[in-house]
Amino acid sequence: MLADEAREIDLIACQQCDALYNEPGLATGQKAECGRCGATLFEHKVNSIERTFALSIAGLTLLTPAIILPIMGITLAGQYHEASLLDSIRQLIAKGYFLIATLVFMFAIAVPAVRLMGAFYISYCFKFNKINPFLLNFFRAYHQLDSWSMLNVFLLGIIVSMYKLLDDTKLSVDYGLLAFVLLLICSTMVSVTLDQHHIWQKLEKECVDANG
């Protein structure tokens, strides 16, 4: 067992093609790429914890306005009606499309929200030295949400619907859209700044080695 652990400690393998390397030491801001398939092995990111902490707070603040504030409104034949992200989900439920309502809620609200909260909690624990073994499971779960956040697709959806509605109605844009765009920026930046390699290494040092 001990020999196994000694053998694997400095090794790193490419996720995409399984090529095996000795872990290179990287200076801040550098990135290691696989020599065979070109995938990124890992990065040493600049000020990862501080940046993630700041961006996740900003993102969490923007979450409520982005969901509740109306995104756009239309005027037709003297009538005015506006809708927010939450309204569109409420309408889908009212019309009986529960599957779609659930999925829109998951991809456009729940997953981005949970990811921001997760990034906030992890960067908070790292920033204030409150690292505990629970974080191992927590960060593992966090990692699984990556492919299911669809804020960017939803923004394109907003743009397309505006283009469509512009044709025969008077369209007005509301603060909800501004909040949504800023939320998208924060959420994207968080996944850019969060240094997974660093977090895993530190968690291993503090939680796994301490027990074993």
Partner: protein, 206 residues
């Protein structure tokens, strides 16, 4: 070039730690996730989800996705007839965006995944690098197909003007969403390392 598999090692898919494989199912020494050296039955799962996506894609295109009521008169439109309407009105950029997201991307994903599975099965892996890049493109494009679903969801909520104009959702939206979800799960089920596995033998011989 040596691979982790040749050395009896496996990478944890969650935390990327290299572990010595002491059994077929290995518990990661870092994050205690249970994993395999390669995703088990990866090709079968990928193919199964892809076929499910293909089946759902048929009703997704046959049923209407949106029904517009203006002054009480209903007008149903499918995904394709909606794109046709945009072309009639001269909204070409919109037609291109919707056509790409709703038709080209799902079809490309379905054909592409079947192609990748057949490549691994057939054992012809001379250009593993290109195939890996192709797989990444498929993985990246997946979520963008949800575009039409989000557009319909928004339009239904915004256009709510009583008798003047309202929009109803059509049954195609369920099937279309399932197509998108199934292709995404199919792409996740695929293990790109399978594209490289046999190459190593030829490398060693040279």
């Amino acid at each position: 070039m040596q691979t982790a598999k040749q050395m009896g090692l496996g990478v944890c898919p969650e935390c990327y730690k290299v572990n010595t494989m002491s059994a077929r199912r290995q518990r990661c020494r870092r994050c205690s996730n249970v994993f395999y050296q390669r995703k088990p039955n990866s090709l079968q799962y990928t193919l199964a989800w892809t076929i499910a996506a293909l089946i759902c894609f048929v009703p997704a295109n046959l049923y209407p996705i949106m029904i517009v009521y203006s002054l009480g008169v209903p007008e149903a439109s499918t995904i394709l007839s909606g794109i046709g309407t945009f072309i009639d009105y001269g909204l070409y950029p919109l037609a291109v965006v919707i056509f790409t997201a709703s038709i080209i991307v799902p079809i490309l994903k379905i054909i592409g995944l079947i192609f990748l599975v057949s490549k691994v099965k057939a054992g012809i892996r001379l250009t593993a690098e290109k195939h890996t890049k192709f797989y990444h493109v498929l993985e990246f494009l997946g979520p963008w197909s949800m575009l039409d679903v989000f557009v319909v969801a928004l339009m239904v909520a915004v256009v709510e003007l009583g008798f003047v104009s309202t929009i109803e959702v059509g049954p195609a939206i369920n099937y279309f969403t399932l197509t998108v979800i199934f292709t995404m799960i199919a792409a996740i089920s695929f293990d790109p390392r399978l594209l490289w596995d046999d190459n190593n033998n030829t490398d060693n011989n040279v």
